[in-house]
Symmetry: C2
Subunit: 218 residues, 2 copies
């Protein structure tokens, strides 16, 4: 899934996105070494481009690099996933808090509409309430915070890592049924401009999600 604000114009941009998606979607396996020359032939660009792409991936914590040795895709561990969710709980909680203050009425209406369409799908037994819908929901609240740093940290960093874990550890989408109610309550809190409650509900929502994933791991 590509975020809207990513418009790759330069070759380095495109290669960065290609390489990132190849890693996140598991076509390049976690923990493997990234050879610059190898990748430069694979993507048909110069080594300089590959180096820039790897540097950006390092900033996202998707790869780790040691000087004069090389870069590896990060290794996945249950501990790492837990740490990721701790950060997510913290940041998205604040995002919900800020969204309750900063979202416009139109944005809130749109969000309610989105939720309603999810509800219809679930009711129809399509059970299409998969990752895409969940991401879209969180996406809007994060944007609704209107906080640049928050938005960038979550979209450019955390979310790709979370997806990488989901894909490579073979988790399906998030919990379907209960999550809908949680989403509904969060939106209600935002609509009521109850920042405190919105943050608390979002944090609990993410904690539940984390627990659900932890349970599947063990």
């Amino acid at each position: 899934m590509h975020l809207a604000n990513e418009k790759p114009v330069t070759a380095a941009d495109k290669t960065f996105i290609l390489l990132r998606d190849d890693i996140v979607e598991g076509r390049i396996v976690a923990g493997s070494k990234l050879s610059e020359t190898e990748l430069s032939t694979k993507y048909a660009v110069s080594r300089a481009i590959i180096r820039e792409a790897i540097n950006r991936l390092e900033a996202c914590h998707i790869v780790e690099r040691k000087a004069n040795v090389g870069a590896r895709v990060v290794a996945l561990s249950p501990q790492g996933l837990i740490e990721l969710y701790q950060v997510r709980e913290s940041l998205e909680g604040m995002a919900a808090r800020l969204a309750a203050v900063n979202m416009t009425h139109e944005e809130i209406d749109d969000l309610m509409g989105l939720l309603q369409s999810h509800f219809d799908e679930v009711k129809d037994g399509q059970s299409y309430y998969q990752e895409a819908g969940d991401v879209d929901f969180h996406y809007r609240i994060i944007l609704g915070s209107k906080n640049k740093h928050l938005i960038s940290m979550l979209f450019d960093g955390i979310y790709h890592l979370v997806r990488m874990y989901r894909v490579q550890l073979g988790m399906a989408g998030p919990r379907v049924t209960t999550a809908y109610d949680e989403h509904k309550h969060i939106v209600k809190a935002i609509a009521n401009r109850d920042a405190e409650l919105a943050e608390m509900l979002m944090r609990r929502h993410i904690m539940y999600s984390k627990n659900s994933i932890e349970a599947k791991l063990s």
Copy 2:
């Protein structure tokens, strides 16, 4: 101030740190354009090195870059500072929460010792309880969270930006007298392994700090 874990080995590392500090300390003014050729002569390295340094600074949100146009140091605004503190409140609150669970007894003892030495200095009227001490305090709690993402986001990203604001907007160190009590209460909560309280106190501590800075701005 250099963080301990930064060991610049390659020329790009060194240039990155030099350039970053020149920006953060205000020797390169906020909002100004960064010419690659100009910088390459200034730091006596090739353009490739400068490009890598600028790329890393972009990842830290210290510079913004537009494709085929160039990079500028970010512009400072009161709104930007507020957003920064919102993120800080969120992340450091979580750090304090985790520190209450994950810090060892030794680390907590060290932290108490640090606090005591600060108290002595303040009591002696040295009033040396300046930024260095404050940063050191927060530094240890963040490390105490044992959460890699949290640590990296705060040290590599937020803290340099916060310092950049402090320097360029001409703020002295943080509030001296009251901050000591707040620090003391936070440490006490951590020592009691009261994660909930530690987070709440840390968030309030940072909110106060933000309010104090906002007051100076207006």
